[in-house]
């Protein structure tokens, strides 16, 4: 797993986009995504408008293009994979292109918002618009421990690779399943310890 692909880019840059209030960025992002998803095909005018807005944001935020492209490619299969079958049917090809355009615009919006806004700011806005506390806590914990879990998986992968002398695929699958199980057990044990640490500091 490439840990750096999960890392946000903010912190090092300080442009007008990074300085824009989180409320505005999250609200704007939501409007762009909602319109892109809801407008009936082919909303060509809107697609061009959204592309222009996002292009301008990319320029102003000074986020490297390669940085954004890498993450787009990483995320795209989750959305496009489902509809891949349409690409091979001539009757649905236009529909496929429309889907690709919409998906890329939505993903780009999410990437731009998340890479120009610190996560704690996102949580602050969610708190302000009265999103249920339980959901916010879950999001905060997920974000915090995502990196810990990925690092744990990476350590296990290295330990496995260090003792893998032959690369027989037939053997790899059960080992991989074992690693996934181990990771699950470790995550649940960690959850117990985190809860204990919370209680130790007076969680009610």
């Amino acid at each position: 797993m490439k840990l750096h692909l999960l890392e946000p880019h903010h912190g090092r840059l300080n442009t007008v986009i990074q300085r824009t209030p989180a409320e505005l960025k999250l609200g704007g992002g939501l409007v762009i995504i909602t319109l892109t998803v809801m407008l009936p095909a082919p909303a060509t005018v809107w697609l061009w408008c959204a592309t222009a807005i996002l292009g301008l944001v990319v320029l102003l935020s000074r986020l490297p293009l390669l940085f954004l492209l890498q993450r787009l490619l990483l995320l795209a299969p989750f959305v496009l994979g489902v509809t891949l079958v349409n690409a091979f049917q001539p009757a649905y090809r236009a529909h496929w292109c429309w889907l690709v355009a919409r998906s890329v615009l939505c993903l780009l919006t999410v990437l731009l918002v998340s890479n120009t806004t610190p996560f704690s700011e996102v949580l602050r806005v969610l708190r302000r618009v009265r999103v249920p506390t339980l959901l916010i806590t879950t999001l905060a914990l997920m974000h915090r421990y995502l990196f810990v879990l990925v690092e744990e998986a990476e350590r296990m992968r290295r330990a496995r690779a260090g003792r893998t002398f032959t690369a027989r695929r037939r053997w790899q699958w059960p080992v991989l399943a074992g690693v996934a199980g181990q990771l699950f057990i470790r995550a649940s044990e960690r959850a117990e310890r985190i809860y204990a640490a919370m209680c130790a500091r007076g969680l009610k």
Binding site: R144, F147, A197, A200, G202
Partner: protein
Amino acid sequence: MNPPPAIEVQNLRYRYHDGTEALGGVSFRIEPGECVGLLGPNGSGKSTLLLHLNGILPDEPGANGTVRVNGALLSRANLEAIRRQVGLVFQDPDDQLFCPTVAEDVAFGPQQLGLVGSEVKHRVQRALVQVGLPDFDQRTPHHLSHGEKRRVCLAGVLACEPSILVFDEPTSDLDPRGRREFKALLRQIPATKVIATHDLELVVELCRRVIVLDRGVIVADGLTRVVLDDEPLMLAHGLEKPHILFHRHPH
């Protein structure tokens, strides 16, 4: 009248769900202001004992032996009051740092105490200054070094202003500089301290008294230099006489 002992443990027993006996009747008392080292091989019950000191274990307080903190018997009813007095610093800092930013994490304890606004901010800033990380408030925990994470954990506990601090392996995984700095930090804190560790030099430098635990029972309790100087005892319980005690005049 003398003040009550900071911690008084009597005949504490604990058995894990799988039947393994972790503590087999442990009794000791720690006076206010003492700094006590808790030694023992892996699996001797040190961490289990520490978890009993602020009521995380057992699931039913008081069922097997008693724990008194500043004279008050630990029970389900006064769990909250006890946790205000006993701050626990865990071995793995990633277990303890669960908030998106350092400031939010340090603020967690004070907020649970019911504090709000400027008082929380004041405590967070004071705790971060105390651990030597005054400008770390907006940093994310996963970008910190191991030593910095440890110190933020300590700040999170100090922000609750406990009178007793309990540490589980505070210097494990730290580089020599990190160890030295954390040791200096521990020395500055005036609270009653219980430190479970394998770092014998830390114990010699900071603790006047040690308790040695093996297989869930106390096998030695006394002055650090006397207990740690007893080589046969140390070797019998998976420990060793620390290097520092071989030199009468440490260089």
